[in-house]
């Protein structure tokens, strides 16, 4: 397990919003299924005393921590307030905060991530589906029915593409240790490098699938530092330069980070790169 397990208590910020409430229910369904603690508190300023699917709501994370034992936060608040929510979580002493919110201004992300770092708080996201350790814990919005427990780690900048690849892994009998959606924004907290470092130290994980996209160089940086067998898939080989493909992160800037050169750099480091998602299970079987 990396980042959390059945014993981890979770606080959801933006608990009374539509998304927050909906996903508290799903996260706690999963917690019940696997015998975990799940979401123990919700936070929505001015809504203290309410309950969301049986979970008590507090006005602040500090208030919640006075009555509940939790170490991880999940943020569902709207973009304009999300940076501040990350800083609140870090300042209150949570060790990890997962930011589901999309469309956060990049300066807000940069400030919040820098602030969280000063408080020794890791940030996953923003603009991410969160993480799932099958049989242990779900933080965020990943569907659980495609996954199965096993020894393959998955790190991805995408959401649904991750589900596609989890599905293919599970069908090929390759269960997952932990699946981490690190987010599609240009600036994100935990990068491939950070997550790979945790996977290298995780006894359960034998190999890691790295699902990347056009833009930036985070995939190569991660692969360079990896101390565990990895296979990669990079989306966006057909993406035209200077065009934004949905994710704010998936934009090629002046020839930097286009898929072909990214794939070439990964292959130069002896990382096998799948040209189609369906090739991934085969490559992973060769690695382990």
């Amino acid at each position: 397990m990396i980042y959390g397990d059945r014993t981890t208590g979770v606080i959801v910020t933006g608990a009374t919003g539509k998304q927050g409430a909906f996903h508290i229910a799903l996260m706690n369904d999963y917690a019940r299924q696997v015998g975990g603690r799940g979401v123990v508190a919700g936070v929505s300023p001015g809504k203290a005393g309410q309950e969301v699917h049986g979970v008590p709501v507090y006005s602040s994370i500090r208030d919640a921590l006075r009555e509940q034992d939790a170490s991880v936060g999940v943020v569902f608040v709207p973009a304009a307030a999300a940076g501040d929510s990350v800083m609140e979580a870090a300042s209150a002493g949570l060790s990890l905060v997962v930011v589901i919110t999309e469309h956060i201004p990049v300066h807000d992300s940069m400030q919040a991530i820098a602030f969280a770092r000063l408080n020794d708080c890791a940030v996953i996201g923003p603009n991410c589906p969160g993480l799932l350790s099958p049989g242990e814990i779900k933080l965020g919005i990943m569907p659980v029915h495609l996954s199965s427990r096993g020894h393959i780690g998955v790190i991805s900048r995408s959401g649904t593409l991750t589900y596609e690849i989890i599905d293919q892994l599970s069908r090929a009998g390759l269960g997952q240790s932990t699946v981490v959606g690190i987010g599609g924004d240009p600036v994100i907290g935990q990068t491939f490098t950070d997550v790979l470092e945790r996977f290298s130290e995780d006894d359960q994980t034998r190999a890691v699938v790295l699902i990347g996209e056009v833009g930036g160089a985070l995939e190569e940086e991660g692969a360079r530092s990896a101390d565990i067998p990895i296979a990669a898939y990079i989306a966006g080989i057909s993406a035209p330069p200077e065009k934004r493909m949905g994710h704010a992160g998936a934009i090629i800037e002046g020839g930097e980070g286009d898929a072909r050169s990214k794939i070439k750099r990964l292959q130069a480091m002896n990382v096998p790169v799948a040209s189609r998602p369906s090739e991934i299970p085969g490559i992973i079987k060769n690695l382990i």
């Binding site: 602030f115 596609e164 035209p240």
Partner: protein, 361 residues
């Protein structure tokens, strides 16, 4: 969103970065009316949001005599396919030296990256490859509201000290304008002072609202229509329309089309919550492009209701064939609805893409 040069210069000037004297004209006649106020020699700069403007003929030298004709000539040109609607008329500077300064969001460090070189006026990417040592760099966490003085000294090296104030002001612009990039190339010295001879400012699309910008000009008309529905949409040149949920999955669908030798006509990510209404709008939007001959719908989600999606596709009532890959809840019902209306349902994204490529071959 990329600002035009004169818009960026107005912002720079308001933050204490000197810019050349200039005015914006929208016709050659407008220039003629202002000839008496202009210096003997001046520069005409097409205001278009494309790179390599100078090389593409977007900048002309002019004087009092030929100014009107030169302006007319420039208005008649298209610069890399873009029509010239506005021209910035500027004084000609007697340049003594050219520098380069920029501040950008750096993904790897998650900080602002400052670049400075005394070899300005060049293509910075080429310089970075050929003489990387010529570019000085500094990284600043956005928790700081100014550049520490030691960094300014390191950046400038032997360049004139007064450029330090320009760097500080450029960092202010970067911060208050939610910039992804604030760039001066070239930053020039003349006998009378320091000027931003060119200016580039890219504003974060996620911050347009709080920057008071209501319309993103970088989008085409159909892209703007898509934005209203909350879709991410990009026009491409092929004949296979693509609708997916999630940027990564949609991109992977496009890549698979290319892998099998087909060509995608667009990228459309419907985003989260693919319900009947949104799917219908998405299908209609893609089908409205006359080059689209077949549409692939690739939707995968834990909570996506396949029956809703099927109803959306059917109610769009378009003429092109639609090939569908759906995974989520109520799959069987979705399948039954689509089959009943004559649509093709595929079990995997690979099968769906193959069928679409075959259909247009």
């Amino acid at each position: 969103m990329k600002l035009l040069e004169y818009e960026a210069k107005t912002i720079f000037a308001a933050h204490g970065i000197p810019v050349p004297k200039g005015m914006v004209i929208r016709s050659a006649t407008e220039l003629a009316a202002h000839i008496p106020d202009l210096p003997p020699e001046f520069v005409l700069k097409a205001q278009v949001e494309v790179g390599g403007r100078g090389k593409a003929g977007g900048i002309l030298m002019a004087d009092q005599e030929d100014g009107k004709d030169r302006a007319a000539e420039l208005f008649d040109r298209t610069i890399r396919g873009v029509t010239v609607r506005e021209i910035l008329v500027e004084e000609r500077l007697a340049i003594t030296h050219e520098y380069y300064a920029s501040i950008a969001v750096n993904r790897s460090s998650k900080q602002a990256l400052l670049l400075f070189t005394d070899s300005g006026g060049v293509d910075i990417e080429t310089l970075a490859q050929e003489r990387p040592d010529a570019i000085r760099r500094a990284s600043i966490p956005l928790l700081l509201n100014r550049i520490p003085s030691f960094m300014v000294r390191d950046l400038l090296g032997s360049a004139p000290k007064e450029l330090g104030a320009i760097l500080q002001n450029l960092y202010r612009v970067f911060l208050v304008k939610d910039a992804l990039l604030a760039e001066i190339n070239p930053l020039v010295t003349t006998s009378t002072g320091v000027y931003a001879a060119d200016a580039k400012l890219i504003i974060d699309d996620n911050a347009l609202g709080r920057q008071g910008i209501t319309q993103n000009r970088d989008l085409t008309e159909r892209e703007r229509e898509a934005e209203k529905h909350g879709f991410s949409y990009v026009e491409l040149c092929g004949d296979i329309g693509v609708i997916g949920n999630g940027a990564g999955l949609t991109m992977a669908t496009l890549d698979l089309i290319e892998y099998y030798g087909g060509h995608a006509a667009n990228f459309l990510d419907v985003g989260g919550g693919a319900d009947q209404e949104r799917v219908m709008h998405a299908v209609r939007l893609v089908a409205a492009d006359p080059t689209v001959r077949v549409i692939v719908v690739n939707l995968l989600g834990g909570i996506t209701r396949c029956d809703d999606v099927a109803r959306g596709i059917i109610s769009a009532g378009i003429s092109q064939p639609v090939i569908v890959r759906l995974a989520g809840t109520n799959e069987a019902e979705g399948q039954r609805l689509l089959a009943g209306s004559g649509y093709q349902m595929m079990g995997s994204m690979e099968q769906a893409v193959l069928a679409a490529v075959e259909a247009v071959r």
